[in-house]
Structures are given as C-alpha cells and as structure tokens.
C-alpha cells in the first residue's frame, strides 16, 4: 500500500496533499505517492518543517490505493477529506 501526505493549509484550511516538488496541492491526483517507509518518514519531516513555517497544519501520512487510475484513501475519513462530504449532492439541489 502506498502513502501520501495530507494536511490543511493554514491560511484557508483547505485540504492539501504534498506534491513531488514540495508544494501542497488541492487535488489528490496531483500529490506524490510514496512507496517506501524511509521516504515516507523523510517527507513527513519535511512536512513538519512546512508546519513550522506556517504553510500547513497537522501533516500526516495516509494510506492510499490506486483503483482504475483513481486514488482512493484507505480510511473513509481521508476519502471524505479528499472528495468532499458525501452529502455534497445537496449543495447542488438546495433551492437556488
């Protein structure tokens, strides 16, 4: 199972994923997938530095699998963070 780094961006709270170039991106598809534990630990350290630099809050590693080219976090909570609330269909329907 591969891993990714997830966090909330400090200034607006948006869920972000760490990309290969060290930036934080909103799309899970654009984040970097990590293969091995050592690399994961390294990138977590880098993420903590980003936290100390007031870019993100609470970075952590999550398990992610790739299914038909789509990245799906293993835990439902992270899947909801990546894709939005499962009740989101209501936003489109509420009387505008």
């Amino acid at each position: 199972m591969k891993q990714m780094l997830i966090a909330n961006r400090l200034h607006d709270g948006t869920v972000v994923f760490r990309a290969t170039d060290g930036s934080w991106v909103e799309s899970i598809a654009a984040g970097t997938m990590i293969d091995d534990e050592q690399r994961a630990a390294q990138l977590l350290e880098c993420s903590r530095a980003d936290e100390a630099a007031n870019i993100v809050i609470d970075p952590n590693l999550i398990g992610v699998i790739e299914r038909d080219g789509v990245r799906v976090p293993v835990r439902i909570r992270e899947a909801i963070r990546a894709n939005g609330p499962t009740s989101a269909v209501d936003i489109a329907k509420i009387g505008r």
Partner: protein, 557 residues
C-alpha cells in the same frame, strides 16, 4: 429582541479588532498553533476535515430578519451558500478560510452578532426555550435572564480558562423544551410556595462519554440572584474541576465525585460570600433589558376557527401541517409556526442562503420580523396570526420548509458527523437521510406519532443521542462505520438517558432496525401511548428481539 447599546457594540467591535490582530500574528508565525488554537476557539473557529468551521452565536435562539439576511450574505460570500443550525441554537459555516474570518466577524458585528465563546473552555451560548415569551404554558419570559447571563459570561476574565466547556440552558416553562436537565447548569423557572417565580438550579447534567441527568443544587432562587449563584458554581468548578484528563473535566464529573450534597455545600459557602455584593442584578438594568422583550402590539384577535377548519377539511396536507408544526400561542388569534428544516432526504438543519432570505421575508410578512432557532435544528416563527396560517403554509411549502414532521420520526436531530467533523467516527447525514426518506409518508408519520430520533457521529454526542427516544451513535469498528442504538431517552421535564439495544450495526442495517423498532412499538402500544412511554412500560426485550432476532443482545448472524 435585545438591541446593543454603545457598550455592547464597542465590545464586539473591539473583539473583532483583537482577533484580526491575532490572526495576523498567527499567519506571520508570531503565534504557534498551540498558542493560537484557544484564541481562535474562543472566537468560534474550529479546524475540521475540509476547512475551518465557524460557529456563530444565536443568543438564546433569537434572530431578527435583518440578522438572518446577514447570515445568508455570509453563507454566500464566505462559504458555499449554506449554513447549518445546531443543537445549541447556533449556526455553523463549514467552509471558512482563516484569513477571511476577521471580515466575517466584522460583518456579524454590523448586525449585532458575534462568535465570542461559541467554543473554548468557557461559558458557551446560553440557550433557551425556543417558544420563550410566547408559549401558553410559560410562567415568565426567561430571555431577560438569558441576556444578563450572556453579558456576565462574555469575556469574563476569571472563567475563560475553565477545565472544559460550560453550557447553560434556561426555560421559563415547566414543560422543558430546552433540555435543561442535560446541561452543565440548567435553570427551570417555577413558583415557590409563596407563588413567586424563581429558578430551580440544576447542575452537572451532560452527555458525551459519561451522560448524566443534572441534579438540583437549589430548589428555588430569586432571579435577581442568578448571576452571583452562577458565579459561585463556576468558581468552585474552576478551582476543583479535573484538569488532568479532558474526558473527565466537565462539571458533571466533579459533581459525581463529590456528591451533590458536598458540591452544594461548597457552592453555598462561596455564594454566601458574594450574594450581596456587586453581582446583585440592578433592577434598573434588568428592567432596561426586559423592555426589549416586551410583547409586541398584537392585533385584536379575529376568530378564524371555522375557516381554518374548513381549509383543513379541504386539504389533508394542510391539516397534517397544522397538527404537527403549529403550536398554541399565549395570545388569542395567534400561533407559533415551526419551520421544518427536515425535508426527507435533505441534511437535517442545513439551509441555503436563498432560503434563509425567503424565511427572513416570511418573518417580516407574517411574524413581526423575528425568527427563532430551535435546538431541534428547525426554525420558528413565533407571532403568526391564525388568519395567515394557510397563506404562510403555502409559502413554506413552495420552498420545501413545510414538512409536517415536528417532533415526529423524520424530525431527526443529526450532528454533521464524519462528512464534516474531525472528531467523528461515522457519518450521521446518510443515516438521517435514509430514515427521513423511510418516514416520508405523512400518514405513517402521524400514525407513529411523537418520536425523537437523534444521531451522533461520535461519543461527543453533539446530536444529543442519549436523550433521543431512539438514539443512534456512530462508532468505529475495525475501520468500518457501525451504529449503536439506544432507546428510551428524553430531553424534556421527564428527562432520561437511553438504554443500549445491543452491539453496533453496520450502516446498511440501520434503517431496517429502526423500522423493526417502530413496528414493535405499533404492535405493543396501548391507545395513543407515545413511543417513549410504551418503551418505559414494556422494557427493552421485545425491541432487542426485533432488531437482533432474539433478545440475548447477540447480533444476528
């Protein structure tokens, strides 16, 4: 409604300026997250799954139409076009950016609203009966005391770092619509032997991991002493409440550990020192505030009984709505209208910005410009002329806010759950939607009758599941969402905590389980006995058997 004077307005403006400075310091790194977190919490700002969440105070559930329009504007401008009304009569926005939060607070201050202390280890929004000032069974309008307690608790320098959060609820009626028995302090107005109105003070109620029905610390106290008495309670709690474990830090734990008699002794000793001091409520000040809650100038009542009956005879859906959503008003010719935010299949308590504006318009047209928020996550229009009921119903029906389900099975209370909340184990919204759709037939709803269903996504119990007739608690079982059911809870003056039915059920089994429970009730009830009373009479066994296939509490294979 209370209107800010120059002192109230200056305070919220100063608070906005302070928070703007604090946000700036945080973004520049002059404050760490650890230092900043209690500051942003005390301004109602949480960090949740998707973004920051802002909880705005609706003091004792009262809003003007102007304020509701501003809430709509905020939803549109700073959020994704909707808000969520909570079990503490507040409103929450789920998609807030930290760097825009000071602007939001400034816009709230423009309409005399704020988010001060809607979170944090301090005294939270003082909640009240959503029919305050209007219910037939009310002894005295409690809102003056709510406003006095609000001002007493806001930016109180001694009590801003309590062991844990502190919630106060107030009812002016013996019929408790404010759930006072499960609050840290509950105030219940009643008459003493001499016929004078005063408060029974209940302390140490609460839900969460260790639900407790509050205990009476004082049978009766003059309202004029309520601030000093609350100070005594808070001071003893601040000094002796546990600070070693956040799950053992509420006042209910302290009261249980000391016993109510010892706790009372300590509070009364402290109160004796302060009762005649500066905290006595100045009658001029309480009169000043009470004047804002004076009843409006009502019109001479017109008897429209025959017309209303004819309209109901002609239209069963209007009749159903009249039966479930309309309550009696203390003034003849008027009615209290509950605006249901529980359309089956929708998210309980959510309301779009557009519909907020519509409700504000309807409040202006039909209810003297005022809206209440109920802890059941619905809105209330409290001054509707009976002659306008049919027209108002049509208007509400056109925007989906006339579901005839108040207090019935589809009037579900649900926390935001794992769809939004960082604390949750499971999602409550899909369960709420499934159950709501299951009970979408109005005849079925009426047949089942009064039934409160409460859903919490985790043990923090923001959905108040312990006091639901049916409670549903989301738990994490090996990474899967499971739900534990409880039966027999109640949040009114006969408050009780629900009993666990059995092991957690997977999400897919929950709607059927609810159906079995309701069918069992329909089989067993005597006459028009309510669900909760049938349960209290027959006990758990038949319900457990219906859900699990036997009454041993073991899950069916």
């Amino acid at each position: 409604m209370y209107r800010y004077d120059e002192f109230d307005q200056t305070l919220v403006d100063e608070r906005v300026a302070q928070f703007r400075r604090q946000v700036g310091r945080r973004l520049r790194g002059e404050l760490t997250e650890d230092q900043f977190k209690p500051l942003r919490l005390m301004n109602g700002l949480y960090l949740q799954l998707h973004a920051y969440m802002l909880r705005v105070n609706v003091p004792y559930g009262c809003l003007s139409s102007r304020q509701l329009r501003q809430l709509a504007h905020i939803a549109r401008t700073y959020d994704k076009g909707y808000g969520h009304f909570t079990t503490r009569q507040n409103i929450q926005y789920n998609w807030i950016a930290l760097d825009r939060a000071p602007d939001i607070l400034a816009e709230l201050a423009e309409v005399e609203m704020n988010a001060m202390q809607s979170s944090g280890n301090c005294v939270r929004n003082v909640t009240a009966d959503h029919y305050a000032g209007r219910a037939r069974d009310e002894l005295q309008d409690p809102r003056v005391w709510c406003e006095i307690l609000r001002q007493y608790s806001i930016l109180n320098p001694e009590f801003s770092y309590l062991p844990r959060k502190f919630k106060i609820a107030v009812t002016g009626s013996p019929h408790d619509r404010a759930a006072v028995a499960v609050h840290d302090i509950g105030l219940r107005m009643h008459l003493n032997a001499a016929g004078e109105p005063g408060f029974e003070v209940i302390v140490g109620g609460g839900q969460g991991r260790t639900p407790v029905i509050g205990k009476a610390i004082r049978a009766w106290i003059e309202p004029e002493h309520i601030v000093s008495y609350v100070e005594a309670i808070l001071r003893v709690y601040n000094l002796y409440g546990r600070r070693d474990n956040i799950y053992k830090a509420r006042i209910k734990i302290l009261v249980n550990a000391l016993g109510i008699d010892k706790y009372r002794e300590m509070v009364e000793a402290e109160w004796a020192e302060i009762r005649d001091g500066v905290l006595q409520i100045d009658p001029a000040e309480s009169a000043r505030i009470d004047a804002y809650f004076a009843p409006p100038a009502y019109e001479t009542p017109v008897d429209v009984g025959a017309e209303l009956q004819a309209l109901q005879d002609a239209d069963t859906s209007f009749a159903a709505w009249m039966h479930s959503n309309v309550a009696g008003h203390k003034v003849d010719g008027y009615a209290i209208v509950n605006v249901s935010l529980k359309e089956p299949g929708k998210v309980p308590g959510d309301l779009s910005a557009d519909r907020m504006d519509r409700v504000a318009d309807l409040a202006d047209a039909f209810s003297l410009g005022e809206v209440r928020v109920s802890h059941r996550q619905n809105l209330v229009l409290v001054d509707v002329r009976q002659a306008d009921l049919h027209t108002l119903w049509q208007e509400l029906r056109d925007i989906g806010l006339a579901t005839p389900n108040i207090g019935l099975a589809s009037d579900i209370i649900a926390c935001p759950g794992l769809d939004y909340c960082a604390l949750a184990n499971a999602r409550s919204i899909p369960i709420a939607r499934d159950i709501g759709l299951h009970f979408s037939d109005s005849d079925k709803l009426q047949q089942v009758g009064d039934l409160t269903i409460n859903i919490s996504g985790c043990m923090n119990a923001c959905g108040h599941h312990h006091v639901g007739n049916i409670g549903i608690l989301g738990v994490d079982k090996r990474g899967q969402e499971y739900f534990q059911l409880t039966l027999g809870g109640s949040s009114n003056e006969h408050a009780s905590l629900g009993d666990r039915v059995g092991p957690g059920l997977p999400q897919s089994d929950v709607p059927a389980a609810i159906e079995h429970i309701v069918d069992t009730y329909l089989d067993l009830r005597q006459g028009d006995e309510r669900f909760v009373n049938t349960y209290r009479r027959v006990g758990m066994a038949p319900f457990r058997a219906a859900v699990y296939g036997d009454d041993s509490g073991q899950a069916a294979a």
